[in-house]
C-alpha cells in the first residue's frame, strides 16, 4: 500500500483507551504527516505507554484492553484486526529498554528473524540483516551472543531492528528510559535521519529536554488528555522536564573535611578480567560522590565491588564496613509481603527502622500494598528506605534517577540531601547530568576503562554535549 505525500501517516481522533474501560486516555487527537515529527511528553503514570499500545492496536488485540475512537497508521486502521496484522510492515518501533526487545541470541539472528516475519527468504534476510548491522557498526559482532554486547551495542541493535525493513513510519516509546547520553545521541541521530528520509516520526518521552529542538510539534499528555504544547507555557510544566540544567562554574577541587569512609589505590575491578581501573578513589563522611560513565563502562561493577559482592582484581578498598548497595532493579531487594513489613524488618537496625515510615510519602495509603504493586518511582523510593533501615555509613545507589519523572526526581533529591545531612555518605552511579548539578559534591568520570576525578561543571557539560542537547 503506497502512501500519498499529503496523507496523514499517523493520525488519531478522539481516541479513548484503558485496560478495563477507556479511562486512561481521554479523547486524544493528533496528526503526523510525511517527513513530520511529533513529540508526546508527560509525567509518569500519565498514560504515555497506554497511548502507544492503544494507537498501535496492541491494547485491543493483544492485551484485551478497551479502545474507542479512530486511529490510522500508514493508511491502515490498527484497531481492525486485518489491518493490525499488516501494520508492522509500515512501522519501525523502538521501545524503552533494549534488553526487553531482543528475542534472539545473536544480532544477525535477531534481524534475520524479523525479516523472515515479513516473508523474506533465509538468504535474502541474512544478506539484508548483514547490511543493516554494518550500518550501525555491528558487522564484526553479528554472531556474538547478545549477552556479550555492551549496553550501547544492544541499543544500536534495536535501532537496526526498527529500520531493517525500511518502514515509512517510526514510533518510539520512551527510548531513553534506560540509556546514557551516548545512546540519546544515537536516538537523536535516528530521528534526524528518519525525518530527512521523509519518514513520519512519533516520539513518546518523559525527558523531552533531550529532543525538543528536533520537533516542531510537541504534545503534553496529562490526566489522560493530550494537549498541544505552546512554548510560552514552559514555566507551567511542573512535572515534565523541558529545561537543561545550568552546569555552573567550576569551583576547584573540594575534598571535604570529614573522615575518609572509602579509600582505594590502584584499583582494578571486573568479573575475571579488569574492565575498569582507578588510580585513586576516595570518599568522605557526609559526601555525595557521583560515578559517571556510559552504559557498560563498569559503574555498577565498581559499586558492587565496594559493596563486597565481588572482590577487586587488583588493589584493596579500605574504610567503613557498613555499606549497602541498592540495585538498579529495586524489585530485587524486596522480601516481605507488604510495604509495612518491609519497613519494619527485624533484621534492620532498630533505631534506623523507627523513622522509615515517616520518610515514605505514601505510607498511610500504601502500607498494606505488596511492594511489587507500587509504581516504579515508589519501588525505587522504598528500596532506598530499606537500605537506610540497615543504617549504613555508605549508601551505594545504582542509577537512582532512572525512570523517575520530574516530581519524583525532585523528591529523590530532597531525600538524598537529608541522608547526606545526617552524616552518611552516598555514592551514585549515574549518567544523569541533573544529579551531578543537584547533588554531587565530587565526580569520578569513566573514560576508556579508566576512572578519574573530574570537575562537576565539566562532567555535567560533557554529558549534555555527548547527548547533543541544544542549550
Amino acid at each position: 500500500m503506497r502512501l500519498q505525500s499529503d496523507e496523514a501517516y499517523v493520525s488519531i481522533e478522539e481516541l479513548s483507551a484503558g485496560y478495563t474501560k477507556p479511562d486512561v486516555i481521554l479523547g486524544a487527537s493528533l496528526r503526523v504527516g510525511k517527513g513530520e515529527g511529533a513529540l508526546i511528553a508527560g509525567p509518569s503514570g500519565s498514560g504515555k505507554t497506554t497511548l502507544f499500545l492503544a494507537m498501535t492496536g496492541v491494547l485491543s488485540h493483544l492485551l484485551e484492553g478497551k479502545v474507542e475512537g479512530k486511529a490510522s497508521i500508514g493508511g491502515l486502521d490498527p484497531l481492525k484486526l486485518e489491518d493490525y496484522e499488516l501494520l508492522p510492515s509500515k512501522i519501525g518501533i523502538v521501545l524503552q529498554d533494549p534488553e526487553k526487545q531482543i528475542a534472539m541470541p545473536t544480532p544477525i539472528d535477531e534481524l534475520t528473524f524479523i525479516l523472515e516475519n515479513f516473508g523474506y527468504s533465509r538468504e535474502e534476510a541474512e544478506k539484508r540483516a548483514a547490511e543493516a548491522l554494518k550500518s550501525v557498526g555491528l558487522q564484526s559482532k553479528a554472531n556474538f551472543h547478545v549477552e556479550n554486547l555492551s549496553g550501547g551495542e544492544k541499543r544500536r541493535l534495536t535501532i537496526a531492528a526498527s529500520t531493517v525493513h525500511d518502514p515509512p513510519i517510526l514510533l518510539m516509546d520512551e527510548p531513553t528510559a534506560s540509556i546514557d547520553p551516548w545512546g540519546i545521541a544515537e536516538i537523536r541521530g535516528l530521528i534526524r535521519s528518519s525525518l530527512d528520509k521523509g519518514m513520519a516520526v512519533l516520539l513518546i518521552e518523559h525527558k523531552p529536554v533531550f529532543f525538543k529542538d528536533l520537533f516542531k510539534r510537541i504534545y503534553i499528555l496529562r490526566g489522560g488528555k493530550l494537549d498541544k504544547f505552546e512554548e510560552k507555557d514552559e514555566m507551567s510544566i511542573r512535572d515534565v522536564d523541558f529545561s537543561v540544567k545550568e552546569c555552573g562554574e567550576e569551583k576547584g577541587k573540594d575534598i571535604g573535611s570529614g573522615k575518609r569512609v572509602i579509600e582505594a589505590r590502584d584499583l582494578a575491578v571486573g568479573y575475571g578480567r579488569a574492565i575498569l581501573r582507578a588510580e585513586e578513589l576516595e570518599m568522605r563522611e557526609g559526601e555525595i560522590v557521583a560515578i559517571v560513565g556510559p552504559n557498560g563502562s563498569g559503574k555498577t561493577t565498581i559499586l558492587k565491588t565496594i559493596a563486597g559482592f565481588i572482590g577487586p582484581i587488583e588493589g584493596e578498598i579500605v574504610g567503613e564496613r557498613r555499606r549497602f548497595y541498592v540495585p538498579q532493579f529495586p524489585d530485587m531487594l524486596f522480601i516481605k509481603r507488604t510495604v509495612e513489613e518491609e519497613l519494619r524488618d527485624q533484621k534492620m537496625d532498630p533505631r534506623a527502622r523507627g523513622s522509615l515510615k515517616d520518610l515514605f510519602p505514601w505510607y498511610s495509603s500504601l502500607k498494606s500494598s505488596n511492594p511489587f504493586r507500587l509504581s516504579h518511582g515508589q519501588r525505587r523510593w522504598l528500596s532506598i528506605l530499606i537500605a537506610l533501615g540497615y543504617d549504613p555509613s555508605v549508601l551505594l545507589l545504582d542509577e537512582p534517577s532512572s525512570g523517575l519523572d520530574l516530581i519524583l526526581y525532585n523528591k529523590l533529591v530532597d531525600l538524598l540531601k537529608r541522608v547526606k545531612n545526617s552524616g552518611k555518605s552516598v555514592m551514585i552511579s549515574t549518567h544523569d547530568p541533573r544529579l551531578i548539578v543537584d547533588l554531587a559534591d565530587r565526580v569520578y568520570y569513566i573514560q576508556d576503562g579508566r576512572m578519574a576525578e573530574k570537575g562537576k561543571s565539566e562532567a555535567c557539560s560533557e554529558l549534555y554535549e555527548v547527548a547533543g542537547v541544544v542549550r
Binding site: 534488553e99 528475542a103 534472539m104 515479513f118 516473508g119 530485587m332 524486596f334 522480601i335
Partner: protein, 219 residues
C-alpha cells in the same frame, strides 16, 4: 539450517522422550545412566550457562528427602538419622524422585546448551511443524534462562546483604526468591512479546514480500 549432528527437531524429540521416560521408569541405575551423559554433554556445550540448573536440582534434594521421610518411610531398616529410623523405601523413593528431576534437568540443560533459540524456532517450525507461537515461546524461554540465572545471582547477593540466607531452604523463602524473579522475567517477556508483535510475528509464514519490495531490496 543447522550444522549440528542432531537436528533441533530430533533434539527436541530426544529431550521430550527422555522426559517422558523419566516419569515412567523406576530403576535408579537406568535413571542414573540417563543423567550422566546428558550432564556431561550439557557441561561440555554450556559450561557456566547451565550450572545453575544443577544448583537448583541440588537445592531440591532436602525437600525431596523430607517428602520421602514423611510419606514413604517403610520397608527394612536402613539406618538412623538423629535417632529417627530410615527405612529402605525412603531411600529408594528419594533416589527415584531425585534422579527423575535430574534426568529432566540434565536433558533440558543439554538441549539449551546445544542449540541456539533461533535453531530451536526453525527446527520446531520446519521439521516438526509446530505452530509458530509455541516454537517461539519454547525458544524464548531458553533465551530467558541465562538472564534469569544472572538475576538469581544478583538477588542472592542483595539478600545476603539484608541478613537473609543466600539460598532458599524453606517454602516461604523460595516464594520470596521466586517473586522478584518472576516479576522481572514477566516484564521482559511482556515487552519482548509487544516488540515481536509489532515486528511482524503474526505475519510469519503467512506473507511473501511483494515484487516491488523485492526489487527495492535488490537495488
Amino acid at each position: 539450517m543447522s550444522d549440528k549432528m542432531l537436528s533441533p527437531g530430533a533434539g527436541f524429540i530426544y529431550a521430550l522422550s527422555l522426559t517422558a521416560l523419566a516419569f515412567i521408569l523406576r530403576s535408579e541405575i537406568v535413571l542414573l545412566a540417563m543423567v550422566i551423559p546428558n550432564f556431561l554433554l550439557s557441561l561440555y556445550y554450556g559450561r557456566k550457562k547451565v550450572a545453575w540448573v544443577y544448583v537448583l536440582i541440588l537445592i531440591s534434594a532436602p525437600g525431596i528427602f523430607l517428602n520421602a521421610l514423611f510419606f514413604s518411610n517403610y520397608g527394612t531398616l536402613y539406618t538412623t538419622i538423629l535417632g529417627r529410623p530410615i527405612y529402605s523405601n525412603c531411600i529408594s523413593s528419594f533416589l527415584i524422585v531425585f534422579l527423575r528431576i535430574a534426568v529432566i534437568g540434565s536433558v533440558g540443560a543439554f538441549f539449551v546448551s546445544y542449540y541456539t533459540p533461533m535453531e530451536i524456532v526453525k527446527g520446531l517450525e520446519k521439521e516438526l511443524h509446530f505452530p509458530k507461537g509455541i516454537a517461539f515461546s519454547v525458544a524464548y524461554a531458553f533465551r530467558l534462562m541465562p538472564l534469569i540465572s544472572k538475576d538469581f545471582s544478583e538477588i542472592r547477593k542483595v539478600r545476603k546483604q539484608r541478613g537473609y540466607r543466600a539460598f532458599p531452604l524453606t517454602a516461604e523463602e523460595f516464594i520470596t526468591y521466586a517473586a522478584p524473579l518472576l516479576r522481572i522475567s514477566y516484564e521482559r517477556a511482556f515487552w519482548t512479546g509487544v516488540a515481536m508483535e509489532l515486528r511482524g510475528f503474526r505475519l510469519r509464514g503467512k506473507r511473501r514480500i511483494s515484487s516491488r519490495e523485492q526489487a527495492r531490496f535488490e537495488k
